[in-house]
Amino acid sequence: MEEFLRAEHLHKVFSSGAEKFTAVDDVSLSLQHGEKLAIIGESGSGKTTVARIIARLIEPDGGRIILGGKDITKTKGRELRQVYGVMQMVFQNPVESFDPRWTLGDGICEGLLNHGYARAEADKECRRLLSMCGLEEDFARRYPYEVSGGQCQRAAIARALALSPKLLILDEATSALDVTVQAEVLSLLDSLHRELSMSYLFICHDIALVQDFCHRVMVMHQGKVVEEGNCDHVIRNPQQEYTKRLIDSVLQ
């Protein structure tokens, strides 16, 4: 397999006043074409910050991001728009990831219209995407507060797929959903992965969820990567004390 995403020595410090907090400390990762990589860790471990740095939603204080062989650490404007055609993100809270004044359909079409689709084409594509994610066409006319969390997250996945990205960053995309809906969304993501052969960067705090879903796992603690490797291997033979505790907490 060929490398698709590489992040090198990412570093991010948040400061409020005189206090400084290192959220991401020298994190490097690489993701192959079609691979599913999970980043796990407790809240505050810096996994979401890593995802946001890679998605170019926050600026890193150091390090490089290489996507498809191109350095995107400093891209801006039109080039960044092109990057977002390749890389998309699904957020933790589905309802908040849609503008409350817009219908789900308008939200899904926005990216298409920004990338030069005509309105009618975009509407057609939106219907196709909704049905691909298991939603009926009339969901396009609904507002985010009129649908359930699971339905809204499906619509958010449809929006992320609109520009046919090669990399999907799933930032706790199933954490806000209840267990049965979580399973449905995961199986949707699994079937989409088979159909569209995308790469997933799966940010999650639940190690049990990751085991069946991802190829590789990276464990983060206090901004650092403490362990990395094949999912089964890491879960069966954790080398680090922190990983052991993380696994034990799920087993309990």
Binding site: A55, G77, M89, F91, E96, D99, N114, A156
Partner: protein, 285 residues
């Protein structure tokens, strides 16, 4: 359990229709007030400046519905003519400070650190002036008059909108849908135009609507103190001030502009409240 229907949330249709009716009614009243103030010179039955001492302080009659003041000027004509200064000036004032203040606020929230700090400290500076003292200072430097009163009120009122729109913009900007829109290829201006403005316009519009009443009162207050409109220009505040000693003997002369202020302020305040309810997406069906 079989065959049992899953309960669904019923939309409050009746409430929504009532809200629409109320909004339409109040909007009509406000529009009437605005039209009256705009075309006031054509609506006055008499010349509001025409003095006739033979009928001074006449009580309401079929010829002079609201009576006459101490110089025999028709009160109805003066109240209608006064609406130009009172309503129209407040509306222009609020429109200007709402737009200007909001733009500053959005700029602060979306721009870098130093511009935000600079503009917000400037806003604090203006907020620190007590309104009346500032108006007195303006009147002392530039002289009295409606224009200077409006200027003084504008200078101390815009920071409220800047603060409001800044905090609203910051709150909206932190929500995931802004990031999703950015990842959908929106530039900074598109983000502001499509997502920030529509989402913060509700609170700003409501504040502005409620402010029309407040500004009307403040302008009237300044005129009452002799810092706004100068006699003989008909303005509700100064009309009340001029005639306040007639309240025990000829109350209609003082009460007519007083009621005009009360009624207009009430209409705009109620309209502001109703617009807020209407703009709340949860009240839409």
């Amino acid at each position: 359990m079989t065959g049992q229907r899953i309960p669904t949330v019923r939309k409050p249709k009746v409430r929504k229709n009532n809200l629409r009716l109320k909004l339409a009614f109040l909007a009509c009243l406000a529009l009437l007030l605005l039209l009256a103030s705009f075309f006031s010179e054509y609506l006055t039955p008499y010349d509001p400046y025409l003095q006739d001492l033979t009928i001074a302080k006449a009580p309401p009659s079929s010829e002079h519905w609201l009576g006459t003041d101490r110089y025999g000027r028709d009160m109805l004509s003066r109240v209608i003519a006064g609406s130009r200064t009172s309503i129209f000036a407040s509306l222009l004032l609020v429109g200007f400070i709402a737009v200007f203040g909001s733009l500053i606020g959005i700029l602060c929230a979306r721009s870098g650190k130093w511009l935000d700090t600079f503009l917000m400290r400037t806003a604090d500076l203006f907020l620190a002036f007590p309104g009346l003292v500032f108006a007195l200072a303006v009147a002392a430097v530039l002289g009295g008059g409606v224009h200077n009163a409006i200027f003084a009120l504008a200078a101390i009122s815009w920071p409220k909108y800047a603060r409001l729109s800044r905090s609203q913009t910051l709150a909206i900007s932190a929500l995931p849908f802004m990031q999703a829109a950015r990842m959908g290829g929106c530039g900074s201006l598109q983000l502001v135009w499509r997502h920030v403005l529509p989402n913060i316009s509700g609170p700003i519009l409501v504040t502005a609507m409620l402010d029309i009443g407040t500004m009307m009162m403040e302008l009237a207050g300044l005129s009452f103190l002799g810092l706004g409109a100068k006699p003989p220009i008909p303005e509700w505040g100064s009309m009340m001030s001029e005639t306040r000693n007639l309240l025990p003997t000829q109350p209609w002369i003082t009460l007519a502009p007083g009621f005009a202020i009360f009624f207009s302020v009430m209409v705009f305040n109620l309209l502001g409240d109703t617009v807020r309810d209407y703009l709340d997406p949860k009240n839409r069906g």
